[in-house]
Amino acid sequence: MIRIRVQPEVFNAGQEIEAITCDRRDVGAVVNFLGYVRDFNERPDVVALTLEHYPGMTEQSLHEIAESAQARWPLHAITIIHRIGRLTPGDPIVLVAVASAHRQAAFDACNFVMDYLKTQAPFWKKEHSRSGDYWVAARHSDSDAVRRWENANE
């Protein structure tokens, strides 16, 4: 089961895990990744950020990433929630929850989903700092992270 949501509202990680595991007896592991807004990034004094996305393509892209993970590992469920709009340091920004019978598949798949989300899903962050606003630059380390999954495929 794949659940994808792109929303300005805050999410509740506990409820999302509950939604995955209720009525099931075959889930042995749920691995959850929660991303938060930091008060330092490219500049040390980030006061807020604004997330822009490409409506339609974003949901489709997240769905394809979840399907790739399902094709690779035996998974029971994947939930991806990403927030958009203006967020401030300390706010949760992204949730990836993966359920499987065993922990290794859930750990790997969660990692995989985040690596692809960071390089494929059309989101862009603009950070607002005390010294001005700027668009966050993509990191090479994120592309490298994806490449290791591609290499593992061969």
Partner: protein, 266 residues
Amino acid sequence: MTKLTHIDSKGQAHMVDVSDKALTARSATACASIKMRPETLEMIMTERHAKGDVLATARIAGIQAAKRTSDLIPLCHPLMLSKVSVEFEADPELPGMRVYATCKLAGQTGVEMEALTSVSVAALTLYDMCKAVDKHMVIGEIQVLEKRGGKSGDWCLSSEVSAVILDSTATSSSRARVSAPEIRVRFFAHLREQVQRDECLINCQDLPDEVTVSVIIQWLTAQDACLAQAFANDSLLVAVNQTMVDRNAQVQPGDEVAFFPPVTGG
């Protein structure tokens, strides 16, 4: 060659004597366009502007201007206008606002100068109302669309040029456009700010038969310096119909092509 009516036999400017001309019902419609950022257009349409109702103010300005035309244009007769109407049409493709003014009177001279003055001042007022949020607005395409009554009879711009200019603004009575296959190009994030627009439409008739993403980039680069500079950055990503592709990918009429910087979510 047609004679210039405001120059006399000695080559001097003069006001034409219309005393003997018949009193007829006359009207003229003119238009102007004002290009602006899509955000500015949206702000006007949703009436969120800090200066208040932009269109209501510009409409009054257009009506006042029509009445003052003879004060501004040296050889123009003062006219007893019987009707001035000013209309606005949001055009997301421009992107911006089109202003239409129609002036009427029962009189002895034409009213196209009044209609032209009206749309000009209405456009200037739009600029004045919005300049705090958008300094890149461009006023243009000020022209007469239609003239009725008088000795020279009825005249309509659209009947002369609509066959040639697909995208021209027709008269208010036939404002529908000839539809042509188009490719919608969208811009996101930093790129959107650089090119100062959310999207643009490319008429497929302006492109070769075989269209790839590279062809679209070439076309965009040739449009203006702003686009050329933004597309000099080869790290830009591209999606056709919301799927990421490379620059050799084919593009068909009706497709949506999106350009954006490397993504930074998560």
